[in-house]
Chain length 163, copies 3
């Protein structure tokens, strides 16, 4: 597969990732993670840059990723129903960063999230970056590691849904 | 044509669509629609999600699309001359959604519009999504259906120019 | 090289350009310019549209581009350390605009910059467009001309870092 085909494939994957969350298809979002081994973390840039390991939230197995959204799917959780749009851009595939796993790729992308309230007023919600490790498992890209490093950690509303 | 080539072609089409409007080349914008059959609608997400069919505005033939911008081209209409930037991202080609038309493709994309006033102050203007049906007519992509579903329907200024 | 491969290559170049600046790898940014001949300008849309040639800032040789960031690399300059995210989108390769240089391409792209302050509060910083001339020099894309046309020229903070 050429570099350009791989980049196009990764871009499509990240756009699908955002669509699963925007459209609240949380089961589809969970299916993007590798059931064998995966992590999902939201980190503040401040902590990351200072080398402080504590994430804002973290899931360290596929079961934890499933649990993360189970309450959302079941409607147990009550939260303000703002509509979110996750704008994914600046997708990059890092060269030679995959280590010994020949089939894994390191990915970077920019994320800007807008919220629109029920009255139709839109505003900037969050600025962040994706740092992901994707693996080709049986011809399908799956997430081994997804870190969302947020520039906007002065979050004024509960981080109810994943990024 | 491979999936990636089709996606690249659709992305380029949507970027051209935005450029026509940003640069106020309204005749070029009209030429992106299929003269044989096309619709253009702006819908609020609220109405769409409730199944209410009334759009904020709608054009149901190529002539209506031409009429939509005729007054803008002729300079008849007076409106505040804010400069708009339409940021298109998250372009997706839906699989198997084209129905019986082998040459048609269903497209989704995110739209974020920024306005800049004559004093050089920029702000978020609108958050929306494109839901389009494109057809390959003689080797050229043309719009059969373009629905702009706006999250921001609390629009404080007249919707003078198309989205 | 097909049109789609060229577009993909240009998109990757522009994303790399943004990453160099976002990550403050200024030496890498300088290396994206053609040492033989290059210009870098920031222009207000107002001046550009009126045909007034004075840029907000301009560098007319590779040495001037290097000087532009030398003080940033050396840490001589004191400025508020907001974190910037440069969102590049709507990348277009213009056809037939390269003139007599067979290997040069004219590129347009949209730029939206977000700033996040040390307290983690994010806001829209700037809306602009790239107008670039890239040349293939020994198999590598390099910048011959980069013009950043800013819609937001009511800049309330010093333009410390390049766009």
């Amino acid at each position: 597969m050429s570099d350009w085909a791989l980049l196009a494939r990764v871009q499509a994957f990240m756009v699908d990732y955002a669509a699963c969350l925007d459209e609240e298809r949380f089961d589809d979002w969970v299916a993007l993670f590798d059931p064998a081994v995966c992590t999902y973390e939201v980190l503040s840039r401040e902590n990351r840059d200072l080398g402080l390991p504590a994430p804002i939230m973290g899931c360290y197995s596929h079961g934890m990723v499933c649990d993360r959204v189970a309450m959302l799917v079941k409607g147990v959780l009550t939260y303000r129903r703002n509509h979110l749009l996750r704008q994914v851009s600046n997708v990059r595939v890092l060269q030679g960063a995959a280590g010994s796993q020949a089939q894994a790729v390191s990915v970077r992308a920019a994320l800007v999230v807008y919220q629109s309230d029920p009255e139709g007023v839109s505003s900037l919600y969050m600025v962040a970056r994706y740092e992901a490790q994707l693996a080709d498992v049986g011809g399908k890209l799956l997430i081994r590691r997804m870190a969302v490093v947020v520039d906007s950690f002065g979050i004024d509303t509960m981080l109810a849904v994943p990024l």
